[in-house]
């Protein structure tokens, strides 16, 4: 609807997930926070479309707020 593709698109999800995990190997919490922020900016530039990034951000935010509404804790 908003251009954000959310269907299954990853050939090897385990490998992709492992790439994310490996990137954080040995980093402090502060360094990991920085890594995630830089990762998002690099991916956002790769996408190159503020509308898609905003749609993904809105989707992620809705998911977090949904947890809050259920009385859950996203950070648990």
């Amino acid at each position: 609807m908003n251009g954000l593709l959310t269907e299954d698109r990853i050939k090897d999800p385990d490998a992709l997930y492992q790439a994310l995990v490996d990137a954080h190997d040995g980093l402090s919490a502060a360094e990991s926070l920085q890594l995630n922020a830089r990762l998002i900016l690099l991916l956002a530039n790769h996408i190159g479309d503020a509308g898609i990034v905003a749609a993904a951000a809105a989707s992620a935010r809705a998911s977090v707020l949904d947890d809050r509404a259920r009385g859950g804790d996203s950070t648990a």
């Binding site: 926070l33 920085q34 995630n36 922020a37 830089r38 998002i40 900016l41 690099l42 530039n45």
Partner: protein
């Protein structure tokens, strides 16, 4: 130590209304002799409208305040006959450097393009700006500045407004067809009408300091994110004339504002920045609270708001003062046209239609800059720091780093005064754009500038036309001879071909400019009927949309 500016004291003259003369109705009263009020008054007077400026003080600005003048502002001052002292005194700068913690992240260049009469930016203290405009005003017999005249109350009627004014010699009242409030963020007129601001206030503050010192720093804009000398906050260093340097230091939201502005508190902060051995004098200290807000409307019947009384933005984009000067530029010719009977009063509604979107653009940019400089959470700070870190190696991240998006002329592209293009131009300036300068030869063969040739009239600029399009009331026609041609009476020569390129001119094409030098209309083959209709539309006679 360089010689500092000496503030003049302007004489208070008891107004004639207090010495027996009947208070006669005035066409326009301007409240506030700051940059916006003075610009407006000069523009009105040069259009033949008698104007009185009321100011509650008797000197120029305390402190440098607005220091960064944009090209558009300088072009407007030049049109108002006040350009020469700005050119002589201002500090031109083109390079900005951005630092993150200890290291320079990158430098940007404003990439000055040749063939413009004025540079992209010039730094000059606001007291000089006001001084120069006051000098220009003194040459105009129909412009009167009344110092020590404080407006105390406002009465608005359907056909005008009456101001209550307090002076050292007593109080009196003045009635005018129109009043323009250029009296700043704490506008008395705004408070008298009880008009609210809409927008955002931020908790963040900047400590703003002018210091005088002999330093050989280049004429560049230096901005630091989290410098080691300032506890992880932002800082700015900018050069002004007379060896005066602007230093802005961001303060914590919970810093005690009264303690922060004491010289004994400011001096050590600057010593940490410049080194213990730096020799400097503190000239001025102020505190700036970030705010991005505006009035819902800038016109309230016969009262108009311009500059900070109408809208306020955070610093670092040079959008406050330069935006206010553009307000004045937009309003003056319209008031003159309505008062002179050339336009219906409906033209004045276009002030809101044109300047509110311009203010919103400034507020949007200013809000984004403020959000970048003052991250509100650890995750948001992480994005900011990530952009700064990636900026060392990646151009895309450099473009995200936001230490202020510098003022550019408003494009009035949604204005009801514009005549939409009927012809396809291959580029150039669509209706709503401010005119772009180009070097030309005047009729006498002397070097001149396009903007100077346009002046303050409606102008139909015809490129390589065999003839003008016949007499057209209220419109001056200027023919452009292509590069290489010989100067001729009533014509200008496109000296370097830049006019042709910047306006995408083809033989016979024409642009209609408004008195504020914005493009009202353009056509490949203009004729008299088209030009008359475009002129009428720009005068608000065709207020559709």
């Amino acid at each position: 130590m360089p010689k500092a500016y000496q503030h003049p004291t302007f004489a208070f003259t008891p107004p004639p209304e207090l010495t027996g003369a009947a208070g006669k109705r005035r066409p326009v009263l301007v409240v506030g002799a700051g940059p916006v009020g003075l610009t407006l008054a000069l523009d009105l007077a040069r259009h033949g409208v008698p104007v009185i400026v009321l100011d509650d003080d008797a000197t120029t600005s305390h402190g440098s305040r607005l220091i960064c003048m944009s090209k558009r502002t300088l072009e407007i001052f030049d049109r108002l006959g006040a350009g020469a002292p700005f050119r002589a005194k201002g500090v031109v700068w083109n390079t900005g450097r951005l630092f993150f913690r200890e290291a320079e992240v990158y430098a940007f260049d404003l990439l000055p393009e040749p063939g413009h009469g004025w540079p992209a930016f010039m730094n000059l203290q606001q007291y000089y700006l006001e001084d120069f405009l006051i000098q220009a005003a003194a040459a105009l017999p129909n412009l009167e500045i009344r110092w020590n005249n404080a407006v105390t109350d406002v009465a608005l009627t359907a056909t005008g407004a009456t101001l209550g004014i307090e002076t050292p010699a007593g109080a009196y009242r003045l009635t005018a067809d129109y009043v323009v409030a250029c009296d700043g963020a704490r506008s008395t007129v705004r408070r008298a009408l009880d008009l609210p601001f809409v927008g955002r206030m931020f908790e963040d503050r900047f400590l703003i300091t002018d210091i005088a010192m002999d330093a050989d720093f280049p004429s560049e804009r230096w901005f630091w994110f989290e410098p080691p000398f300032h506890d992880g906050q932002s800082a700015l260093l900018h050069k002004q004339p007379d060896g005066v340097w602007r230093i802005d230091l961001q303060l914590d939201g919970d810093a005690d504002p009264e303690a922060a502005v004491r010289p004994e508190a400011v001096r050590p902060r600057i010593e940490r920045m410049l080194g213990k051995d730096a020799v400097f004098e503190i000239e001025w200290i102020s505190l700036y609270t970030f705010r991005c807000r505006r009035l819902e409307q800038f016109r309230h019947g016969r009262i108009f708001f311009a500059g900070d009384s109408a809208h306020q933005v955070s610093p670092f984009g040079a959008r406050g003062g330069n935006g206010g000067v553009q307000d004045a530029d937009n309003l003056a010719w319209k008031l003159a046209a309505v008062l002179g009977g050339a336009a219906p009063e409906a033209l004045l509604d276009s002030y809101d239609a044109e300047r509110i979107p311009a203010a919103d653009e400034n507020i949007l940019n200013s809000t984004r800059s403020t959000d970048f400089m003052t991250p509100k959470s650890a995750a948001i700070r992480a994005f900011r720091d990530a952009a700064l870190a990636l900026a060392r190696d990646h151009g895309f991240a450099r473009r995200m780093v936001n230490s202020g998006r510098l003022s550019v002329p408003a494009v009035l592209d949604g204005s009801p005064l514009n005549t939409p293009d009927r012809d396809a131009f291959a580029g150039g300036l669509p209706p709503g754009h401010a005119a772009v300068d180009a070097p030309v030869l005047a009729a006498d063969g002397q070097d001149d500038w396009l903007l100077r040739s346009l002046g303050q009239d409606f102008v139909l600029l015809l490129y390589d036309a065999r003839s003008d399009i016949g007499p057209l009331q209220g419109v001056r026609q200027v023919s452009v001879i292509p590069a290489g041609g010989a100067p001729a009476p009533g014509c200008i020569v496109d000296r370097d071909g830049l006019l042709q390129a910047r306006y995408a001119m083809t033989p016979g094409a024409g642009y209609l400019f408004r008195p504020d030098q914005h493009v009202a209309a353009r056509a490949l083959w203009p004729d008299a009927a088209w030009a008359a209709a475009a002129r009428d539309r720009a005068l608000g006679k065709d207020a559709i949309g």
